[in-house]
């Protein structure tokens, strides 16, 4: 900090520097606001009347804040309200995320701390699955689940999550490498089994990585569209992502306000994560990216 300022002040006179700083902040802020403009526009749009949305698109603020759009949107379609869809999304998100977190931490412990024949090979296989286009396994998986009579259930959407995801295993491994090995060695000498090392030493120490996993995976499941689109056909079972698409297809020609309102509601959990767990998100995306 000090160095930067020093070296800066040598080259540029002070007051010039000050003007430059103000310019910098204004520019960054303006560009940033431009970037989030579509989102802000959507949020305000959900309080506008359809007339305002269609004819006064440039006006950002609604003439008056009314909740009518939310009330109309929440009613959903085909006698199913959005309460149902939100509930479905939470059920899916929670059960998939629980699975990913538990299974990935198992595998991360094995790959980073235990020596066994084939470990390196298995690790390479896992990294390769990250690069594999999901389309290659999507169709056969669908056929298999279909033959098992599991379409229109959540099994195809949840079950694969219980078998570890490479991205999270890799992230947790980075974290475990950062812990001193002496910790688990000491515990083993004291007569601790490897299972207790995992549950009593590793697990509590990688808590930040676990939180990151929970957040990112919940958010991915919440956003997932293709999975539900392929496997679910009964509206009763739809998660929010799929329901919104159907809702928009059925009503958007006439009712933009309701569509915006529901869109805004569907992003609430993501905004919540963004506001309260931003640190973990940023950590997750930047650390696991760095050592690729």
């Amino acid at each position: 900090m000090q160095q930067q300022q020093l070296s800066g002040s040598y080259i540029i006179p002070k007051n010039h520097n000050y003007a430059k700083r103000i310019f910098y902040h204004c520019f960054v802020l303006a560009l940033g606001l431009l970037m989030i403009y579509p989102v802000v526009w959507m949020i305000f749009g959900s309080f506008k009347t359809n007339y305002e949305i269609l004819n006064e698109a440039l006006k950002l603020l609604p003439a008056e804040f009314s909740l009518d759009n939310f009330i109309r949107g929440w009613k959903g379609f085909g006698n199913i309200t959005f309460a149902r869809f939100f509930q479905n999304s939470f059920v899916l998100g929670i059960s998939a995320t629980a699975g990913v977190t538990i299974s990935s931490s198992f595998v991360a412990y094995a790959f980073s701390r235990l020596r066994f024949p084939g470990r390196r090979f298995l690790f390479s296989c896992m990294m390769a699955t990250m690069m594999l286009p999901s389309q290659v396994v999507m169709i056969p998986q669908y056929i298999i689940f279909r033959n098992l009579g599991l379409t229109n259930t959540y099994v195809p959407l949840i079950l694969p999550s219980w078998f570890a995801k490479a991205f999270f295993v890799f992230m947790m491994m980075q974290f475990i490498y950062g812990l001193p090995r002496e910790l688990d060695e000491a515990a083993i000498i004291d007569g601790c089994s490897r299972y207790s090392v995992y549950s009593r030493i590793i697990l509590p120490l990688i808590k930040p990585a676990l939180i990151t996993t929970i957040i990112i995976n919940f958010y991915w499941t919440w956003d997932d569209f293709m999975g539900p689109l392929i496997y679910l056909s009964r509206a009763q079972k739809f998660p929010v992502s799929l329901a919104i698409k159907l809702f928009a297809d059925s009503t958007s020609k006439t009712d933009f306000g309701a569509m915006f309102a529901i869109s805004t509601l569907s992003l609430l959990p993501v905004f919540f994560i963004f506001l309260f767990f931003n640190k973990y998100l940023i950590q997750g995306f930047s650390t696991s990216g760095l050592r690729g």
Partner: protein, 309 residues
């Protein structure tokens, strides 16, 4: 006592305590999942890619039939390949350049740095959602914000962004480039690791900030750029949701991305065999492109440990 136990396990409990056994037990979720959800489906997919398989009846072996049909009799397939390549070639460099510039902007040491980072990261956090795709569609509607804004600038006629074959893809390119946030985070983390002393030395030697950017920042960041390029390219080939929601592949197949056509083949036309063959061609295409990027990396990716001083 510990030694005895690890060497000669007599009981089941002792067996379960062996390190290698523990290793397999702990990695079993991955091993089982790898077979159940990757290897077996892949083999099955390879098999049905050589079959004519409409989901209602049993697969019939037709050899290379699907692959031949793809390249000789299916103009829509060729179209989807060109559209996808065009999209990837434009959107990925655009996104990475933008991410780089913004990362450079927001790593200046101010108290607001982390606030700015979050601000610019927000679009990519929500950009993948259906909600944003629907909003994007409205933004570019004939009487949407973009056209109204252009009208303000004096451009009279509203443009049919989504109705015109050569404009529609740009709506999707912009939506992709807009989600530069996670690349930017990775770049920002990389920028922080460049030692301050490099810049100080350059400043003493009288290098301009542009020179500093090109001769210090870019080379030091090149491994991270490389990583981003690979991941974004792979993702670009698989874009589905946004095209599905915003354009549905139209107008006139001008945004018929590969993944979208594959989806239509499998789940609208129920040609599972043909779609599986397409998936394998996608795999090969992605592998070739990735290999090309890897091959080129020797020329422009700079690893401090190996080269240099």
């Amino acid at each position: 006592m510990i030694k005895m136990e690890t060497r000669k396990p007599r009981t089941i409990k002792g067996f379960l305590q062996k390190e290698a056994v523990c290793g397999y037990i702990f990695s079993s979720p991955f091993i089982i999942g790898f077979f159940a959800f990757t290897i077996i489906p892949m083999l099955y997919s390879l098999f049905i890619s050589f079959c004519s398989f409409r989901i209602s009846s049993a697969p019939v072996w037709i050899g290379w039939g699907n692959y031949i049909r793809m390249f000789t009799e299916d103009p829509r397939f060729i179209k989807s390949v060109t559209v996808t390549l065009y999209y990837v070639l434009i959107s990925v460099p655009l996104k990475i350049c933008f991410a780089l510039v913004v990362a450079f902007m927001v790593t200046r040491r101010t108290r607001l740095a982390s606030f700015y980072r979050s601000l610019y990261y927000l679009p990519s956090l929500i950009g993948g959602s259906i909600a944003v795709s629907l909003v994007w569609k409205e933004l570019f509607a004939v009487n949407g914000v973009v056209n109204k804004f252009l009208a303000l600038l004096g451009k009279g006629e509203p443009i049919e962004w989504l109705g015109h074959p050569s404009y529609a893809i740009w709506v999707l390119v912009l939506l992709t480039a807009w989600q530069f946030g996670s690349s930017m985070l990775i770049f920002a983390a990389g920028l922080k690791q460049i030692p301050e002393s490099y810049y100080e030395a350059a400043q003493i030697d009288g290098a301009s900030s542009l020179q500093q950017f090109f001769y210090i920042t870019l080379p030091c960041l090149s491994p991270v750029i490389f990583f981003n390029l690979v991941m974004q390219t792979i993702n670009g080939f698989m874009n589905f949701t946004q095209a599905f929601v915003i354009t549905k592949g139209g107008p006139m197949d001008s945004t018929l991305f590969y993944a979208l056509y594959l989806y239509y083949s499998a789940f609208n036309y129920f040609e599972m065999g043909y779609a599986s063959a397409m998936a394998w061609v996608l795999l090969i295409m992605v592998a070739v492109v990735t290999a090309l990027i890897f091959k080129s990396s020797g020329r422009w990716v700079f690893y401090e440990a190996k080269g240099g001083n």
